[in-house]
């Protein structure tokens, strides 16, 4: 008892200077301790979902790629190391699919953005009732990939009277035509994403200062030159963002292909995601996993490009 009192008494003399300096940090430390339990609790639901359905599959995919699935059911998978990665990633089917995916992105993204931007500029004018046109131009945002594909696919059915009446009647019919199938899917996609592109571009236009345009007008710049030299440079961050997001979407294209062409004719529309899907349906998870790993790295490349561009933009603004 006495010893204890003495002991605490003995500690006391050394304490005051420290105690004077410490309280804020100590309080912060205890707050941090109190907070971390709560923080873990708040983050846990998200972390569980991410762990089970995003990070685990990512790692497991890479692992699955090391195993070849035998062509007959009920045989065990065979460990083949990197052989399957090499075989699949150098196969003609993969290279064709990769090219189709890139061509599809090139068909849809620049054209889609150009149309969306054009409509946004037109609808940005000071006109009475222009709001209703904005609603019209953004309306396709309500359509899903499946809705757009069913509408366009049925309208492109050669037995439906519309296209023949317009003088469009190629042989074989558009969606079975090796030349026209991919462009037809691209047109469907551009229409379906037009509402989203229009909304993005309109929001970007809002951030272009009116006095800058007014100054250019006073200096005698024509409407075209104002657009080219003022609006477009000011919009470049929005356009970059739309290009990256659009390309990532294009790389994930699936529904249109499944509903319109099933990868055909002659595999001419066999984009990467559809390729993965057909391998899953054939129960070849090893090959599907390798393709998925490839898709992941392609997307990562696009995302990193976006970060680079954003970094440049930040330094530019400074």
């Amino acid at each position: 008892m006495t010893a204890a009192v003495e002991a605490s008494g003995a500690e006391a003399p050394g304490e005051p200077p420290v105690a004077l300096a410490e309280p804020p940090r100590r309080r912060r430390g205890s707050r941090r301790a109190r907070d971390s339990g709560l923080a873990m609790l708040l983050l846990l639901p998200s972390l569980v979902i991410f762990g089970v359905f995003i990070f685990y599959p990512l790692v497991h995919n890479a692992y699955l790629g090391f195993f070849r699935v035998p062509p007959f059911p009920n045989l065990p998978n065979v460990y083949v190391g990197f052989d399957q990665y090499r075989d699949v990633l150098t196969s003609q089917d993969f290279l064709d699919s990769l090219r189709t995916t890139v061509v599809f992105a090139l068909m849809t993204v620049p054209v889609g953005i150009a149309i969306g931007l054009g409509l946004a500029v037109l609808a940005h004018q000071q006109l009475r009732g222009v709001g209703i046109y904005r609603t019209f131009f953004s309306s396709t945002v309500a359509t899903s990939v499946a809705v757009a594909a069913v509408i366009f696919g049925t309208l492109m059915n050669p037995q439906v009277g519309l296209l023949p009446w317009m003088g469009i009647n190629p042989q074989p019919p558009i969606l079975q035509n090796p030349t026209w199938a991919l462009p037809a899917v691209a047109v469907t996609t551009i229409w379906q994403t037009l509402g989203l592109t229009f909304i993005l571009m309109s929001a970007g236009l809002q951030s272009v200062p009116d006095d800058l345009l007014e100054a250019a007008r006073v200096d005698g710049a024509s409407a075209w030159s104002r657009f080219w030299h003022v609006t477009l440079p000011m919009l470049s961050p929005t356009i970059f963002f739309a290009v990256v997001i659009g390309s990532i979407f294009a790389f994930q294209t699936f529904g249109q292909i499944d509903l319109l062409t099933q990868g055909g004719p002659l595999r001419k529309t066999n984009v990467l995601t559809y390729f993965i899907y057909t391998e899953i349906r054939r129960n070849d998870n090893g090959k599907a996993a390798v393709l998925a790993v490839a898709l992941f790295f392609l997307t990562l490349l696009l995302a990193l490009a976006q970060i680079r561009l954003l970094e440049r933009r930040v330094s530019y603004e400074r």
């Binding site: 709560l38 873990m40 995919n61 309306s139 499946a146 809705v147 499944d258 954003l310």
Partner: protein, 282 residues
């Protein structure tokens, strides 16, 4: 307004008319696929396949809708889509509010690392994970169930990021003042932070609803029969109909799109905010 327009004013009026004409022509082109779908859904199948095409339904037939709803099971699929979409939307908003709150108001070890982990999920397209997720869902016994359709999407990095950004704009003194009033974190979150972050919550809700409603690949992979199919997959079945039932196909497309048209007309502003959150903030 004056009775005799000056040449300058006349030219301005002509220019304005030209602008309206151009906008109208473009709007007609953009809306044409939807318009012709509505028309075709109300025609007899024989009219759809005839040339020249019919551009106005003089005798609208509603049997296409009836058939899509009954034989096409669109009524059932609509219900499934509503259930799954609601679960996903509510789940995403709740997990995003919780995680966003932790990142904005709490101090804990590895906070930066944790935030990077959340952002990293944005770089993984769902298509990349399906091979393994199908097995996972099947092992959990969730194939062909609402759980299988919804659980993988109950949390997103985007939602957490959006809510964190929104919470960070609230003045710091707010938390201190609430503390003095004896508000714990839970009460501060539900009574102060979330109500003040309403615009972000609304934007996230509309965005999540839209994305969930329009899902196609995942429902195709994890549903086995009509009981759990969603509207988008129902459309795939309607698309395969014979040439003399195309009015049913078109009617199905309208049924699938109508709920979203209504939703977006009501929540246009919130949607625009949700869609542009990434672009404008950079």
């Amino acid at each position: 307004m004056s009775a005799e327009p000056t040449p300058g004013r006349a030219r301005a009026r002509m220019k304005k008319l030209g602008q309206y004409a151009l906008l109208t022509v473009l709007a007609v082109i953009v809306l044409f696929p939807i318009y012709i779908t509505v028309v075709n859904s109300l025609l007899k199948p024989s009219q759809i396949t005839s040339t020249p095409p019919t551009f106005f339904p003089t005798h609208p037939q509603w049997s296409g809708y009836q058939q899509a709803w009954d034989q096409g099971h669109m009524g059932l699929y609509l219900r499934n889509s509503f259930v799954v979409t609601t679960i996903i939307t509510v789940g995403q908003v709740v997990t995003a509010v919780l995680a966003g709150y932790a990142f904005a108001f709490l101090d804990f070890p590895f906070k930066r690392t944790m935030f990077v982990v959340f952002l990293a999920t944005l770089m993984v397209p769902f298509e990349v994970t399906i091979v393994t997720n199908i097995t996972t869902v099947s092992n959990l016994g969730w194939t062909n169930s609402y759980a299988g359709l919804a659980v993988p999407f109950l949390a997103t990095g985007f939602g957490a990021f959006l809510m964190r950004q929104s919470f960070l704009t609230l003045p710091g003194e707010l938390r201190d003042a609430a503390s003095l009033d004896g508000y714990g974190h839970w009460r501060f979150m539900t009574r102060v932070a979330v109500p003040l972050a309403r615009p972000a919550v609304a934007a996230l809700t509309v965005f999540a609803f839209l994305a969930a409603w329009n899902q196609y690949l995942w429902p195709l992979l994890v549903t086995k029969d009509d009981e759990y199919r969603t509207v988008q997959i129902g459309l795939k079945q309607l698309q395969g109909l014979a040439i003399d039932q195309l009015n049913v196909t078109f009617a199905g497309a309208i049924i699938a799109v109508l709920p979203l048209v209504v939703l977006l007309l009501v929540f246009q502003k919130q949607l625009v905010r949700g869609l542009t959150a990434g672009a404008v903030k950079g």
